[in-house]
């Protein structure tokens, strides 16, 4: 694990379930129950048998400590592990022990005590082909099991488990001193109150005594029967380590679990009762197993849209990123999770829901930067929005002190998409603000989110630097944000700029809200960037209520706010992911939504979910049935907005340039261009370029020209024909995420 990936160290994904932590055998209950759930009794049995050594004895005697810690205890009853174990044994196709063909190991090991702990140790060692001798002072094997169980059951089980293995058994042989024994290792399992040969436990390692090569465990150590068996199974590991490395330092078995009950989502279900009163049928076993929560911490995979979609935990993501950032494949440069990295909405929900505050989103942001730095990030994913940011910060930008002011106390920071969505959002808001605070400057540009999301540190720094300079020139005013994302971005990178929300101000100052006479029911959809803005969230609710709405909460709101799926500009990188998530967001209930991020609003509107922007309500903008602007129109609107603002607030007029070349684009094609993120202005440029340079191919069949041009990093192809009167008509257009290399 590299240092960068250490963020996952605290992750609880692989923590043992509560039951497993209680189980003397550490049985992986999630695995076992999972197999029963699928009705695969045979493999479930193998899992069980491998964990406990003597499945017959254990399933008969186990007192089920797991039941005490089962979260289902108060939700219908703890899972009946014992009955499931018996079911696995009964319904397994084959319960014969596995055969282990391997060369004899040569080492000789003595086990003192033919009780179940000694036998368990013998079982493990003989399967590995160690030469084992068991000394038993009585005339038969089994030790204290005789007090607990019908001998038929346990003698059968013992016989069965040893069916493929050989050991030397010396009955009626009491060992009084270890000095007479010449073995490579010895296990003292003489049972409760048995002979310890004057040896005590040695802290150096599990089961170690003060005498080298001699181990002790089982009931003599004061443990219950189940633990005694587990000791026997585990001591074989300690013995094997001693034989291989000459040390008694076998680590103590890890116990307990860091798993938290709070992380477990409990669904109440009544315990399945065996219809015959004793054992489960196959169907009953599956039903009972299906009640099992398979306790594991999976809050992130449950909640985070990204992790939920890909079904990947932080550790897996960290690994995939690691091999993506430092890749190697048989053919060069495979990028295992470029798409995954580019699909993060940066909404912050993963960290919010993680009991350990693991911030996978931040990790992905850094990964994005690392990928960008080494030039491995497919620029195609972010090219459009990087250009769009350029546009917002140049042609469409407007940073100005209010007329007649040398400096300002406030500046309105509407962000780039608010005006692109509807210019009136900006003009109306600015009007309101200047009415209350006449020295409110305007900073109309982009907060730099596209660069941050693209991992483009260099360009991002430029944007932030420019904002800072402008802010100083404006007299270091307090920023008033309309977009929660802008505020989040600026607060993160320019914490010196104090920020407030437009909506808090409106709520505070008051505005004449047009009451909704129908008392319509609606739900507030909190944008993800508002997650920790509780004052903002309540202002929005206040305003909506004042406007006459009856609000119903959404399952995920406030701190649990989910991203509409615009965040991170992931739509180009992975369209199906976006539509999947939009659908989930809008299906939370049937109410119309009220939101306060123009992107949430536009994305939901596009998905046919009735949604208001809070400004629609505040300023009573008739946006109920509006048609969403295309990407080209979004640019036009920003230019128009700038013009309008200059006109209205500064009395300056400007004229928009018309494209030099006239290209007719049908409505159908406009829609296609919009979906492919191709700007109409680019089409004009390309056709103009083809005409001017003559770099075009004529197709005599269709009487059309085909040409291409690279703009930014994207190559665009256009097919067009000359119109009879004048100008041209677009026939088709598409773009490639590549460069055309000419010649050699």
């Amino acid at each position: 694990m590299t240092e960068q990936n250490e963020f996952v160290k605290e992750c609880l994904q692989n923590e043992r379930a509560f039951c497993t932590a209680e189980c003397p055998f550490n049985l992986d209950v999630r695995d076992f129950v999972g197999k029963i759930q699928q009705g695969r009794f045979n493999v479930a049995y193998r899992t069980y048998q491998n964990a406990v050594g003597f499945s017959g004895i254990v399933s008969a005697l186990c007192p089920e400590p797991c039941k005490q810690v089962c979260p289902m205890k108060d939700a219908g009853g703890s899972i009946s592990m014992k009955l499931l174990e018996i079911a696995a044994m009964s319904y397994a196709r084959n319960t014969a022990p596995d055969q282990y063909n391997m060369p004899p190991k040569g080492n000789r090991i003595a086990i003192i005590g033919g009780g179940i702990s000694g036998l368990a140790c013998a079982l493990r060692l003989t399967t590995k082909k160690y030469d084992v001798t068991i000394y038993e002072k009585s005339y038969l094997l089994g030790g204290h099991l005789f007090d607990l169980l019908n001998p038929e059951i346990f003698l059968d089980d013992i016989k069965q488990q040893f069916i493929n293995e050989n050991y030397t058994l010396l009955l009626n042989t009491e060992i009084s001193s270890l000095d007479d024994l010449s073995y490579d290792a010895i296990y003292i399992a003489t049972g409760k109150g048995g002979n310890d040969f004057g040896l005590s436990h040695n802290e150096e390692g599990a089961f170690a005594t003060t005498k080298s090569g001699v181990f002790i465990g089982g009931s003599i150590a004061g443990v219950d029967t189940m633990t005694a068996i587990a000791h026997g199974l585990n001591v074989s590991g300690a013995i094997e380590r001693f034989l291989k490395v000459g040390k008694m330092n076998h680590p103590e078995e890890a116990t307990g679990t860091k798993l938290l009950y709070e992380g477990i989502r409990i669904t109440k279900a009544d315990a399945v009762e065996p219809s015959n009163g004793k054992t489960f049928t196959k169907e009953e076993s599956v039903d009972e197993a299906n009640r099992c929560l398979k306790c594991a911490c999976d809050a992130c995979v449950h909640h985070s849209p990204l992790m939920n979609y890909f079904k990947k935990f932080p550790k897996r993501i960290a690994d995939e990123v690691e091999v993506t950032i430092r890749p190697s494949t048989l053919d060069g440069n495979g990028t295992v999770c470029t798409r995954l990295i580019s699909t993060c909405n940066h909404c912050g929900l993963c960290k919010e829901v993680c009991p350990k505050d693991i911030d996978t989103g931040e990790f992905l942001r850094e990964s994005m930067q690392a990928m960008h730095k080494k030039g491995a990030m497919p620029w195609a994913f972010h090219e459009f929005y990087m250009r769009d940011m350029e546009f917002s910060n140049n042609e469409a930008a407007l940073v100005k002190l209010p007329k007649g002011h040398k400096k300002s106390s406030y500046m309105f920071f509407p962000g780039c998409q608010l005006g692109a969505s509807d210019p009136r959002y900006v003009t109306e808001s600015y009007k309101f603000l200047t009415q209350h605070f006449p020295d409110t400057a305007l900073m109309l540009n982009c907060c730099g989110a596209p660069a941050d999301w693209a991992g483009d540190v260099e360009n991002h720094a430029k944007v932030i630097g420019k904002i800072k300079d402008d802010w100083i020139n404006l007299g270091k005013p307090i920023a008033i944000f309309a977009c929660p994302m802008c505020k989040q971005m600026l607060q993160r990178f320019l914490p010196e700029i104090e920020g407030q929300f437009l909506y808090n101000i409106i709520d505070e100052k008051g505005i004449n809200l047009k009451k909704n006479t129908k008392k319509e029911i609606a739900s507030v959809f909190d944008p993800c960037a508002s997650r920790y803005e509780s004052a903002l969230q309540s202002s929005i609710r206040n305003l909506a209520t004042k406007a006459g709405f009856n609000l119903e909460p959404l399952p995920m709101e406030g701190k649990m706010a989910e991203c509409c799926s615009y965040g991170g500009h992931v739509a180009i990188a992975y369209p199906p992911y976006v539509s999947h998530n939009v659908q989930k967001r809008i299906e939370q209930n049937n109410n119309p939504y009220i939101t306060y991020c123009s992107n949430c609003r536009d994305i939901f509107t596009a998905a046919k979910k009735p949604t208001w922007h809070i400004l629609d309500i505040i300023f009573d903008l008739d946006n109920e049935n509006r048609v969403l602007p295309t990407i080209s129109e979004r640019r036009d609107r920003r230019l128009k907005l700038k013009q309008q603002l200059l006109n209205e607030f500064w009395k300056e007029s400007s004229i928009m340039e018309k494209p030099a070349i006239e290209v007719l684009i049908s409505q159908e094609l406009k829609e296609k261009l919009n979906s492919k993120y191709i700007l109409e202005s680019d089409i004009y440029t390309i056709v103009g370029n083809c005409e001017q340079s003559g770099n075009k191919l004529f197709n005599p069949n269709s009487e059309t020209f085909t040409g291409y041009m690279q703009i930014g990093k994207m190559t665009y192809w256009v097919e067009y024909r000359a119109r009879q009167e004048r100008g041209f008509e677009l026939v088709n257009a598409y773009c490639h995420r590549m460069k055309i290399e000419e010649g050699e």
Partner: protein, 967 residues
């Protein structure tokens, strides 16, 4: 002192205590005398001392009298005045990697001084006695060369008679055109890695590894370099910390590419920091002014460890309670099933078919951790070149892929790493790995100095990867007519300490088990597990010998059970046109019937002779084995080459067809000659610029039997472009000057991608259905053996192979691969092993075959299918020849004396043990079924219940879930 060297008295300065004759000669610049093993067991350092052939690496200079006469390769002949032995070596295909050649030529010279007219057997006896080892050729061509040279020297033939003449019709393809690198090699003028090291600038540092060799598995508690740093001449002792301080990750960029792999992040570090995972791991590097200083200081690095229990084999590592070796993954870290017929509905139905068939057999097998045993060990030089590139001169089967695998480990960005191939003493697969490159690169990155790292043979043996050992269980059944009805099998491969490549090789067993037969119902699986033994890496025939170890033995066993002759049994079961392989796809070509027809007369003759010659003392037997391999790395394979027209009308070819003795040089010439045939080019007019990543385009690895196929295709594309550019309207061609004058480019690149072949797909990780490669090679082997019943020793008396590699591109080069592959197969079957790290430290103790271990009667007959997908009808050479030859030998032993060796190698002790049991009327108990991780059908059930997304041709697709792939 003075020595008379090659006729002249020469004065030299030496340390009589320490220096060997080889040391002194090499210091004098006579680097034609090569040092391979440095133990006197390989013969590449042979020189003639006072008329007597000796091995100079073990001859202390202090034991040599003043003015002794020494004859080295340089004294035998020069490029302008070649000795007939040298000519014969070049002309008769006896030069491959060439590392042993000077030793052999000197040895031959000594032989012919004594015996002007030796028989072939006398020649063989001579090389056996003088321990001349060749790992490439299989020895036959060497004996051919000696016989021809002797004829010339006796005046019975002229040099002309034994030389290849350029054909007048321009038809070169298939003919034995001489390798461009042969001349330097036969004159001792090819400068291999150690020769490069000697010729480096004086300030270059010598790097010695600290390879503790104290444990297979241990926690590192402390690496104390303080004492070493104070040793004379030491410039720097590098540990993992230093690599990280220089900006490296210290982690090799070795990816995993199977949907079922449980580990993603590479497991191997350049220098071990916290843990030792295998015996050959390296914890530090000592850089000093001289090698002796570096070695002395390396001894002083104190490595304090805490030993951990280790698993040295697959069976231990997969026990249900086994501890994890790498904490992030279970020891079994990947598996690949294969299902066909009823197995696709329900795997366990295959068992039912077997149970209900007329005849069935079962067996469990073990294939050895075969060491490559190239004669040259591991030697790397590194420095920053004039453009600031970290240049690494080395042996590498993939110069570009090596850059990928070095990744960011040493802190030099990938676009600033340059890999250059040295003239190279063979590899057979081990140099697909870049661990050694990382070491030298780290030394240069940290010290900023030119460095040379040359391992001792023992260090190399423990450092470099090996063929993965494999345990397997299988059953196969047939109906009463001897037609196979079904098979079930499972393989467990020991990947060793580091995981890279393990999830790739598992596809081979589930493709090549029962190749090229028709098996209607199949349930099988291949698994791979981490252990603490040396890591598994590529080796010729990569993963298929393990498959054939099982399937070709079971074929013989089933034939016997059904009472059918093994040849006839195979004949009944080979695939005929349209029939499907076990991956439910057609075999690409169906030459099987024709090939068996070609083998039939040889088989009949062999069986007859075996019967006639069989005696109670020496039992004779015949064994068959079908084999084959794929061509290319699969659906994403690609290769690029460049052709440039020079002012003098010659052509320069730029590529990275890494030449390791297999013929990367001559292969490239052959395809270029053929592709440029319209220009009337001769071999002399082609200049090769190869395997330097700064100037050559990426033609991919020399692996996967892919080079001829891929490079050939790419060359055709580049040649078409060049020819089109040169062509005038009247059909004649422009000269260079005309091209320049008309502003036409003179350099053209051709890129070929396997993806153009329709229908390619990786194996489905849930079913094993798939067709990953565009072509196959096929080989049918027959071994004839004699077993000495007194000792149990097996001698292979004749070996015949019928092969189909498409059209042969250069008969000498393909024969070189064939005979070489067969000789490795024989060694694999009988003696080769790397298991006991204290014993298997050099080529001799690891069981390399000497000349008398390989029969002089090696015959390969080609059935030349015209492979329409391949360049000029060729497919690929090499790996088919080592896929299954070992099983032919093992089957022949059984046929001879009734002893079936299930667990390789078939040493004489093992055969003798079996003979003794049989002699006492006993029965040899085959091994019981191995436990390979879980019951076969339980595992198949598990896979069926937990399917993973399958990416088709592209592993990356399911990871991203849909749509495109990004690079």
């Amino acid at each position: 002192m003075w020595l008379n060297i090659n006729g002249a008295n020469r004065m030299l300065i030496c340390n009589p205590e320490k220096d060997t004759l080889a040391d002194v000669l090499r210091r004098m610049g006579l680097t034609g005398t090569k040092v391979g093993c440095n133990k006197g067991v390989c013969g590449s350092c042979s020189v003639i001392l006072n008329g007597k052939l000796i091995r100079s690496c073990t001859k202390k200079i202090g034991k040599i009298d003043e003015y002794s006469q020494v004859l080295t390769i340089e004294g035998i002949g020069t490029p302008t005045n070649l000795h007939p032995i040298q000519v014969a070596w070049m002309q008769l295909g006896a030069v491959q990697c060439g590392f042993c050649v000077p030793g052999f030529i000197v040895s031959t010279y000594a032989l012919l001084l004594e015996n002007k007219k030796p028989t072939r057997e006398e020649v063989r006896d001579w090389f056996q006695k003088h321990r001349n080892v060749c790992r490439c050729t299989g020895y036959k061509q060497i004996v051919d060369a000696v016989m021809a040279a002797a004829e010339v020297m006796r005046g019975e033939k002229t040099i002309e008679d034994i030389s290849f003449k350029n054909p007048t019709d321009g038809e070169y393809y298939g003919k034995p055109v001489i390798r461009p690198t042969a001349l330097a090699k036969v004159c001792g003028l090819a400068d291999y890695g150690d020769d490069q090291e000697l010729k480096m600038p004086a300030e270059s540092l010598k790097v010695v590894m600290v390879q503790p060799k104290i444990a297979h598995h241990a926690n590192i508690i402390k690496i104390d370099t303080s004492e070493a740093e104070k040793m004379p001449g030491v410039v720097k002792v590098i540990t993992a910390k230093d690599i990280k301080a220089a900006g490296g990750t210290n982690i090799m960029a070795e990816g995993h590419f199977h949907e079922r792999t449980t580990i993603m992040v590479p497991s191997r570090t350049v220098l071990c920091e916290d843990k030792i995972y295998r015996y050959g791991d390296v914890v530090a590097l000592v850089c000093a002014d001289t090698k002796d200083h570096a070695r002395a200081a390396a001894e002083k690095v104190k490595v304090e460890i805490e030993k951990l229990p280790e698993y040295l084999g697959y069976l231990d590592a997969v026990m249900p309670d086994a501890m994890r070796i790498h904490k992030d993954t279970p020891n079994i870290f990947a598996l690949q099933p294969v299902l066909k017929g009823v197995g696709l509905d329900e795997p366990s139905k295959v068992a039912e078919v077997i149970d209900n068939s007329a005849f069935s057999v079962e067996g469990s097998f073990f294939a050895t951790r075969e060491p490559h045993l190239s004669i040259e060990g591991d030697t790397v030089q590194a420095y920053f070149d004039e453009d600031g590139f970290l240049a690494i001169q080395c042996k590498s089967q993939g110069v570009y892929s090596s850059i990928g695998r070095i990744g960011n480990s040493v802190g030099v960005p990938k676009d600033k790493i340059r890999i250059i191939m040295n003239p190279t003493g063979a590899s057979f697969g081990w140099s697909t790995n870049a661990g050694d490159l990382c070491l030298a690169a780290a030394a240069t990155a940290v010290t900023k100095m030119p460095v040379a790292l040359s391992m001792t043979y023992e260090e190399h043996q423990h450092f470099s990867g090996k063929r993965r050992p494999c345990h397997s269980n299988g059953r196969v059944a047939c109906d009463k007519n001897g037609k196979i009805t079904a098979t079930e099998f499972e393989f467990g491969m020991d990947q060793g300490a580091y995981t890279f490549g393990g999830d790739d090789i598992i596809s081979k067993q589930v493709r090549f088990a029962f190749f090229p037969y028709v098996v209607p119902n199949v349930a099988g699986i291949s698994r791979i597990a981490i252990t603490n033994h040396n890591f598994g890496t590529a080796y010729r025939s990569y993963g298929s010998p393990q498959a054939f170890t099982l399937s070709e033995a079971l074929m013989d066993m089933l034939a016997e059970k059904a009472g059918i002759d093994p040849f006839e049994f195979r004949w009944r079961n080979i695939a005929r046109t349209g029939e499907l392989n076990i991956n439910s796809h057609p075999f690409r070509l169906y030459p099987m019937e024709k090939m068996m027809e070609m083998m039939k007369p040889h088989y009949d003759k062999a069986v007859k002779e075996a019967k006639e010659k069989d005696t109670p003392e020496v039992r004779r037997g015949v064994g068959l084995a079908w084999g084959g391999f794929n061509v290319s790395e699969g659906p994403t394979d690609h290769a690029t080459v460049r052709l440039e027209l020079n002012p003098d009308g010659t052509i320069t070819k730029y590529d990275t067809w890494q030449e390791l003795g297999q013929g990367g040089d001559i292969g490239s010439v052959m395809v270029t000659l053929e592709a440029l045939k319209p220009l009337g080019i001769t071999p002399e007019q082609i200049k090769l610029v190869q395997s330097d990543t700064k100037i050559c385009p990426d033609s991919g690895m020399s692996a996967g039997s892919r080079s001829h196929y891929m490079n050939g295709h790419a060359t055709i594309i580049a040649a078409e472009k060049l020819i089109n550019a040169m062509k005038k309207k009247d059909g004649t061609f422009r000269t260079y000057d005309e091209m320049v004058k008309e502003g036409i480019a003179t350099k053209y690149e051709g890129k070929y991608m396997t993806i153009v072949t329709p229908g390619l797909s990786r194996l489905d990780p849930n079913t094993g259905i798939g067709d990953p490669t565009p072509a196959f090679t096929y080989a049918l082997n027959m071994a004839e053996v004699a077993v000495d019943t007194k000792t149990g020793k097996t001698t292979v008396t004749r070996f015949i192979c019928v092969a189909d590699v498409g059209k042969v591109g250069n008969i000498d080069a393909v024969n070189g691969q064939a005979y070489g592959g067969i000789s490795h197969s024989i060694g694999f079957a009988l003696s080769e092993n790397y298991d006991d790290v204290t014993k298997h430290t050099n080529i001799a103790s690891s069981g390399v075959p000497y000349i008398k271990d390989i029969p002089d009667e090696l015959h390969v007959f080609y059935h030349e299918s015209d492979d329409k997908t391949g360049p000029f009808g060729s497919s690929g050479a090499s790996e088919a020849f080592q896929a299954s030859g070992h099983v032919a030998v093992l089957n022949a032993i059984y046929n001879a004396c009734g002893v079936r060796v299930f667990e390789m190698p078939a040493t004489k002790e093992k055969v003798k043990e079996g003979l003794d049991i049989l002699a006492k009327g006993g029965k040899i108990n085959p091994p019981k079924k191995y436990f390979l991780g879980a019951d076969l059908y339980d595992e198949l059930e598990e896979i069926k219940a937990n399917p993973v997304p399958y990416g088709g041709i592209d592993f990356f697709k399911p990871l991203g879930a849909a749509g495109e792939r990004f690079f």
